[in-house]
Structure formats: structure tokens, C-alpha cells
Symmetry: C2
Subunit: 151 residues, 2 copies
């Protein structure tokens, strides 16, 4: 009566036919895998997302960064605090609005981004190991369409 069914822990066959469950479950696995890797750089996934968007957007305000990432402004404060404490980001005066900060990526921040990208590549390789190159592109394309439609 106490035997456990086969398969990976936390993934029961009774739920395997729900695509929503599979997406949710694999999202959890992917997040956890990557979080463990970039932890070696002293980064959380929130900090990682902020760094990437900052590099792409240039010097934007905290508010704009919140909108990009979908993070609460009060949570952004501590995220930027951590990034600034590690010397990856600087809060500089905004040129035209004295209430706001212009968030600048430091050279150290760019180097950390570069290192993190190698870790991300490794994590993705591990996650998608069961799939061929063609299948990985298929999966990416399907997920991308879902993501772009989910606004």
C-alpha cells in the first residue's frame, strides 16, 4: 500500500496528459536548474533578468525596468540594492527628472553577464539534452508563440 509508482519524483502519471501541468512542471525544473548555476556568480534569477534587460535597454529608470520585467517597484528596490552592492549596476542621477535614477551597467556587470551566458548555455544543454537540434528549435518556436500571445 505504500509502494511508490515509477517515474521521476514529483511527476505522477495521473497528471502527465495535462500539457499545462507539463509546462508548469518543466518551468519549475528549468528555473531551479539555472538558479543553482548562477548562484555561483552570486546572482538570483531576478538579478539575472534585470541585468539582461538593462544591457538591452541602456540606462533606464527603475520604474521602466519594473514594467519590462513585470516586477513590483518595491521588490525592484532590493534587487537593485543587491546589484549595486556587487558593483554590477550604478544608480546615477536622471538627466531630466530629479526623482528618478538612471540605472547604468558597470564593466563588471558586463563581464558578469558574459560569464552568466556561459552558465545559461550549459543549463539549457542539460535541460534539452533529450531533444535533437531540430526538436529544440520546434519547442522554442512553439513556446515563443505562446509567450508572445500571453500578454
Amino acid at each position: 500500500m505504500s509502494e511508490t509508482p515509477p517515474g521521476p519524483p514529483g511527476i505522477h502519471r495521473a497528471l502527465l496528459h495535462h500539457t499545462g501541468f507539463l509546462i508548469s512542471r518543466m518551468g519549475f525544473v528549468a528555473q531551479k536548474q539555472f538558479a543553482e548555476r548562477i548562484d555561483s556568480l552570486g546572482l538570483s534569477t531576478r538579478m539575472w533578468g534585470a541585468l539582461n534587460v538593462l544591457e538591452a535597454e541602456g540606462a533606464i529608470t527603475q520604474h521602466a525596468l519594473c514594467t519590462c520585467i513585470g516586477m513590483d517597484p518595491s521588490s525592484m528596490v532590493s534587487t537593485i540594492d543587491e546589484l549595486e552592492a556587487k558593483g554590477l549596476v550604478q544608480r546615477r542621477p536622471h538627466p531630466s527628472d530629479r526623482r528618478a535614477h538612471a540605472l547604468h551597467l558597470t564593466d563588471n556587470g558586463r563581464q558578469t553577464l558574459s560569464r552568466g551566458r556561459k552558465l545559461a548555455k550549459g543549463a539549457q544543454e542539460e535541460l534539452l539534452a533529450p531533444l535533437s537540434a531540430e526538436e529544440r528549435e520546434q519547442l522554442h518556436g512553439l513556446l515563443l508563440r505562446l509567450a508572445l500571445a500571453s500578454g
Copy 2:
């Protein structure tokens, strides 16, 4: 300087080429969408997972259910408490181990499962709306292989 780029909130183009990010992000969206729907039945996603596994496994112990779902035993206590308070599950004596409970699904529990499945179907339809039937099967097959390999 404060303009926000186009696209769904929380999904920035700087991250769109990471398949791991897309999986993680869509997992979050899927979980949230479904959680909102089954909330109308007074259920959380944890309770929903427990109900499904209980139906498939019959009367198992809390410990076995923890192993199936990947949940901590201490978290399982409150989950079963809630299910029992709603009359969906019963803790009965284990036939051969006086330490353990045999978890039984009630008729009410089975009816709730049936109602929840309709909600799940609707949520999945909404989530996968951008994809054709063929593409949905493709996506499901790819995710299933990842899930089965993730143990």
C-alpha cells in the same frame, strides 16, 4: 528614456531567445491561469495535484502521496487538512500500520475532480489557443520527453 518596449509585460525581447526562460515563464503563466480557475472550487493547485494522484493510486498513505507529488511531509499535513475540511478526502485507519493513515477520496471528492477537469480543459484551451491541434500534440510530446528525463 522611460519608454517601455512593446510586447507582453514581463517578457522582454532580451530574454526571448533563451528556451529555458520561455519554459519557466510559460510555466508561471500556466500555473497562474489554472490556479485562478480552480480557486472557484475552493482548491489550490497543490490540493488539485493531491486529488488527482489519490484517484489514480487508491487509498495510499500521506508519505506515499508526498513521494508521488514531491511535496514535503509537513506541507502535506495542511493540504490534507484542507481537503478533509472540504469533505473531499477522509483520513481512515491504515489496515496494518497504526502510525499511518489511509487517504480515501469521498464521493464529493470525485465530483469535484470531475468539475475541476472541465476547468482544466478550459484553461488549457486558453493557454494553447495560438497553436493548431497538431502543434499542441508536438508541444506535448516534446515536454513529455523532457519531463520523463528530468528525474
